[in-house]
Assembly symmetry: C2
Homo-oligomer: 234 residues x 2
């Protein structure tokens, strides 16, 4: 059942603005801090494992990441990490939370164009306060009829958000940089998805099986191509 | 303008279920952990000051509290706190995040009774994932037409939630244990508020000036008294 796209859902981090690059920078500094104990690969792997173990308790976001970074540093060094070094890890986290929002290229213009003709909603995962801060600072807030911060992006969450925003899945299209979180659940629900990869993908968001090319799945290199795609499919 | 109460908003932590007692327990253990460095009063004051300094970055909730607890422990001991002790602070935080939800007395029955005759919404402040977990585990979720986790409870937030839920302030009543967060903003907006104190109030939520007794402000000792109050005022 193909119907015109009335509502477009956008992911935020790494779809509208840079995010993963902040984590990349933190990882670099973190590995350097612990380099007298372990090589970067061991540090990275242990940190990722700790994050996964803590996901049910902490959820996503910078505060969760900071807590897992501290736990990992203590565990990996058998407690030999100094409290000054732990203090630095706290400071890295705060610096990330204060980082200005940097929009991806062509985002501002494209969102402005699309908002004139379609209903836009924002669906973003992570820490409530930090996501609200970024939405406010992005300058894009007023283009979105709804902005929903969610703690997980699974089928149940999307079902709830679509119901809450009176959105029909047949006229809905979701745009994001994560196949796992932004695209696959929407395809499963019968909607359409546009995948726009970011330079970096967090290991947790990677999927081994990309969606089969179908008439409901599209991949673009830049958000700039989105208006033309929309014109061509609906 | 007095109109019948159609929608009742409920705060959650310390209004529907115990919360501050978990923090009290954490504070006790935390002060004990640092007792070889400082007396409990110094520890408490410094921790509170750190939390306030971090509020803009971290917001509310257990993860924020844990991060501030670690920062305070390092600062207060000039780094002499051991990484094993810091690890214990992380563990306290996780234990809090896993604590079962314990409803306050008479809450289940009262909410069930009220939900039959009025529209109930939940408005709770804090960490998104943790609040969602508690709502789900409380068994009360289905009694509420909306459950909104917010990052701050100020006039702007309430205005947004009321608009989003199509709630008219003249037929709205908010119930909570914090004068500052649950009652004063609602009175300011022209709504009605029912204050039900909890045994403990976090210093940040205390106000020096309680609202003047007015026909829009009520104080109860227990949620059990709420149905009768509603019958008498609308």
């Amino acid at each position: 059942m193909k119907r015109p796209i009335k509502t477009i859902g956008f992911d935020a981090d790494d779809t509208l603005w840079h995010n993963e690059n902040l984590f990349e920078e933190h990882h670099r500094k973190y590995c350097e801090l612990l380099s007298r104990f372990h090589d970067a690969e061991t540090v990275e792997q242990t940190l990722f494992q700790t994050e996964m173990n803590n996901l049910a308790d902490y959820g996503y976001g910078i505060k969760s990441f900071t807590l897992s970074s501290i736990e990992t540093a203590i565990a990996l060094t058998d407690g030999a990490v100094s409290s000054d070094e732990l203090r630095q890890i706290l400071d890295y986290g705060k610096a990330m939370l204060r980082q200005p929002v940097e929009l991806l290229p062509e985002v501002a213009e494209t969102i402005q164009t699309l908002a004139k003709r379609r209903r836009l909603i924002l669906i973003t995962k992570g820490d409530l306060r930090d996501q609200e801060r970024k939405i406010a600072n992005s300058g894009l807030g007023s283009s979105f009829e709804h902005a929903q911060v969610v703690s997980e992006k699974d089928i149940e969450t999307y079902r709830r958000v679509l119901r809450k925003t009176n959105t029909d899945i047949d006229s809905f299209l979701m745009v994001g940089n994560s196949l796992k979180s932004d695209i696959l659940p929407i395809l499963e629900l019968g909607g359409r998805g546009v995948y726009i990869p970011y330079r970096l993908t967090w290991e947790h968001e990677r999927v081994s099986e990309p969606p089969q090319e179908s008439e409901r799945f599209f991949k673009l290199e830049s958000i700039k191509q989105l208006p033309d795609l929309l014109d061509s499919i609906s």
